[in-house]
């Protein structure tokens, strides 16, 4: 890209606006710089993290170069943001390019997670584009064509400094024409696209890192002399890090093998003991994800309950399994470091690396090459720091590429989650008491969209014995699985239709519309023909999006299960790029199937037992049901993120369908670790 050979003295996000080398890099023209804004207090619409704003340059050739701190890891925001800028500027999308996640040139950003790309990046980019359009229109036109921006900025070196953009949309965008379509980059089909693991600067060495045999194990002693004795091998031993680098990956592997290390494992539970362990090992202190809330008179609400439910729902640890394992390439130029890193949080990675190496932040540059997906699993800069340590010692560039096993074992997992639900409803079908506690999972989607007379919510953080962290939609899958399962159970106890029961307890009209649209689209009122068939529905509200999913399943006489069809209706405010959003919904549906049906991390104390694709099953072609996606476009609402919410109703919809089809209520994900549905319990406790 254009920026490869240019390095500013300091990162632009840490340089006063007037001192940034916009025109050195991009030539004369006009730049609009929209300032960042601090975090807003949580309130309606949820979380408002700080943002770093945006900047856009229009050059003499009419080329528009926009910058955002967000990154593209396959979710399609690169295309969606280009489309938005092109529409506001009134130029064809092909004349707009977008630089993402380069920490020397892009606005600071907290990270590409939490479905924040649209809410964080769209308002400042649109504000910058609109200001540029106005500024250019004020100037005498030296061209008859309004789209010919280049001629009208010739010779200028103008910087427009703009205040922070307000959350939400500045105004409706112009209607999209054919020119607003953002074509996919053909290098994706030619093999020419270089992902992080494909980059190979001149003189690069291959790095390998000594790994603990179990999670959290303490390194007691290490003897690296046998590795140091090998020709052409660089060994680094510093701050608890031990790694090697060599010309060839095999030589590096052999050097690693030669190192003698002694470890002491920390006590950790096995699978049988995990639930008790998490319940008895709370995480102390303040934590961003802690949550507790209560409202109403619970004892009185319980008194009014005609039906009561007490149940625990569980989701297992699962892995993201991005198809490209973690990779970083580090290169030092004197005291200054560049790292090409597939990460969702380049600016946090910059901080992590600078701190880890004890060097100024200004000397660290993170660039994000094309990345083989993330799904919440590529936060931070651990692999960048590993490569940087090795490159510093070697005096040559070093790349570190995780094996699939390393990706499983030394990334992190979606938390194992235990949700205790106690809920009641009155004889008229209104929810009364709602008590909902998640242990270890997280607070995302903890809050219920349903009205109740009294409620109590809590997210209880625990000390996970396996590394855990972000995952697509965080705990929203776990919390929605529990809530939507419990709601279904209450509907059964009351003998009410699951769609009608949900609708009757919802105040959120947008969610009701999504629910009713999905029911209609799936033909909810028409019986499913055939033996062993069943249909289930689940809904959810998260990240300001609304989702409803209907699943249809068939349970064969041998109790094998097939998911026949999944119908999802999704509403996320205004739709910016319908095609990319549809891809997200389709993909989230398939990914959701894996966690719903069979994905699960098996473990011994401190060690994952199935860190291989042969033993950790992810969805394949043969798992693909018919998928129907309908997007509801609300042109008057600001766009919400779309990458996460479409996953949250898949598992509960399938669980509810399995109950309808096979009479068994499953309260644990994955639902079908053996591939077969258990037989229903005999006797009067079984479903009617």
């Amino acid at each position: 890209m254009i920026v490869d050979d240019y390095r500013p003295p300091r990162p632009w996000d840490r340089t006063p606006v007037r001192e940034r080398g916009y025109f050195d890099l991009l030539g004369p023209g006009v730049v609009a710089v929209v300032a960042g804004r601090p975090a807003a207090p949580p309130g309606a619409g949820g979380w408002h993290p700080p943002t770093g704003g945006a900047w856009i340059h229009v050059g003499e050739e009419g080329i528009v170069t926009a910058f955002t701190g967000k990154v593209e890891v396959g979710q399609g925001t690169h295309a969606a943001l280009i489309r938005a800028v092109a529409l506001d500027l009134g130029v064809p999308a092909r004349s707009v390019r977008l630089v993402m996640g380069d920490t020397d040139l892009c606005p600071w950003d907290l990270g590409t997670f939490g479905s924040r790309s649209m809410p964080d990046a769209l308002p400042p980019l649109r504000a910058a584009a609109r200001a540029l359009r106005e500024e250019i229109d004020r100037r005498p036109g030296r061209s008859d064509r309004p789209s010919d921006l280049g001629a009208r900025v010739r010779g200028l070196r103008t910087i427009l400094e703009l205040p922070p953009a307000a959350e939400g949309e500045p105004a409706p965008p112009p209607p999209p024409g054919p020119a607003a379509t953002v074509a996919d980059d053909p290098t994706v089909v030619t093999g020419a696209r270089r992902y992080g693991s494909d980059l190979r600067p001149d003189g690069v060495l291959e790095g390998r890192v000594l790994r603990a045999p179990t999670y959290g194990a303490r390194l007691d002693s290490v003897d690296t002399a046998p590795a140091r004795a090998l020709p052409g091998v660089v060994v680094v031993e510093e701050d608890g890090f031990v790694g090697v680098a060599a010309d060839d990956r095999r030589d590096a592997a052999a050097a690693l093998e030669a190192i003698r290390a002694r470890w002491t494992a920390v006590p950790a539970p096995d699978e049988a003991g995990i639930e008790e362990y998490l319940r008895t090992h709370p995480l102390d202190g303040d934590h961003w994800d802690a949550a507790a809330e209560a409202d109403g008179d619970l004892p009185a609400a319980w008194d009014r309950s005609a039906v009561r439910l007490t149940a625990t729902y569980r989701t297992d640890y699962i892995a993201h399994v991005p198809l490209e394992p973690r990779a970083a390439v580090a290169r030092w130029d004197g005291n200054r470091l560049s790292v090409w890193l597939g990460t969702q949080t380049p600016f946090r990675a910059r901080d992590d690396v600078a701190r880890g190496l004890g060097i100024p932040v200004d000397d660290v540059r993170i660039r994000v090459p094309p990345t083989g997906a993330g799904f919440g699993g590529k936060h931070g800069g651990a692999v960048a720091l590993e490569a940087a340590r090795l490159a510093r010692a070697a005096g040559r560039p070093v790349r570190v590429r995780y094996s699939r096993e390393e990706e499983f074992r030394f990334g992190y997992l979606r938390p194992l989650s235990l949700v205790d639900v106690r809920a009641g409803a009155d004889a008229a079908g209104a929810l009364t008491a709602w008590e909902f506690e998640n242990v270890n999972g997280g607070a995302a989607a903890l809050g219920s969209p349903y009205r109740s007379r009294a409620h109590r919510l809590e997210n209880r953080l625990a000390r996970s014995p396996l590394p855990q962290g972000s995952y697509r939609s965080l705990a929203a899958v776990a919390n929605n699985f529990a809530r939507e399962g419990a709601i279904d159970e209450l509907a059964v106890l009351l003998g009410r239709d699951p769609v009608a029961f949900r609708a009757a307890n919802l105040d959120d009209l947008r969610l009701r519309r999504v629910l009713e649209t999905a029911a209609a689209r799936a033909g909810w009122d028409r019986p499913l023909g055939g033996d062993g068939r069943g249909r289930g529905i689940a809904i959810g509200r998260e990240k300001d999006g609304r989702i409803a999913t209907v699943a249809e399943v068939t349970v064969a006489p041998d109790r094998r299960v097939r998911v026949d069809r999944i119908v999802t209706v999704f509403e996320a405010g205004r739709v910016v790029d319908p095609d990319r959003l549809a891809r997200q919904v389709e993909g989230a549906t398939v990914m959701g199937l894996g966690g719903a049906l069979f994905e699960s991390i098996a473990f011994d104390p401190g060690a994952i037992r199935n860190p291989h694709l042969a033993r950790y099953r992810v969805p394949r072609f043969s798992d693909l049901p018919e998928i129907v996606v309908e997007l509801l476009d609300l042109p008057d609402q600001a766009p919400a993120g779309g990458g996460e919410t479409p996953i949250i109703a898949v598992a509960p919809a399938i669980a509810n369908a399995l109950y309808a089809a096979g009479g068994v209520r499953l309260r644990r994900l994955p639902l079908l670790p053996t591939g077969r549905l258990p037989r229903p319990p005999a006797g009067p406790s079984g479903p009617g």
């Binding site: 693991s197 198809l323 490209e324 997906a373 998928i627």
Partner: protein, 162 residues
Amino acid sequence: MADPPRILRVNGDRRPVRSAPGRPLLEVLREELDLTGTKYGCGEGECGACTVLVAGLPVRSCQVRLGEVGDRDVTTVEGLARDGALSPVQRAFLEVGAFQCGFCTPGMLVAATALLRAHPSPSRAEAADALEGNLCRCGGYGRILAAVARAAELAREEGREP
């Protein structure tokens, strides 16, 4: 590295390689020949990201040793386009938008090309079956099957090899 160079026939070229015969073809392609379109995804033949054609048949290049290839033709994703023109399969993937992160795409393209050369008009079920060993973690299976159908159509219309 003491072995004498041998010739590997890749994408119509004869390329001298110095890797030992026991080295996986994937590493030879990526590390020695800088053909990085072929991806490492698992190293155990489970994901299909490293799929290439050897003598026209799709193989997992992480599971094939250089010495096993002999003088047979190897085709990687870089060899699908002819004279700078994208193949029907490549164009169909672009037209349908059959990718998200794109990391599985080279393996999918190669596997789909092999399928369509052997079976020019596969049913959806046949295509899914042929691609079963290729994983798309972004979940783009539906679009990939649509792209395969579209590629079959393009190849027929144009009278071209897929």
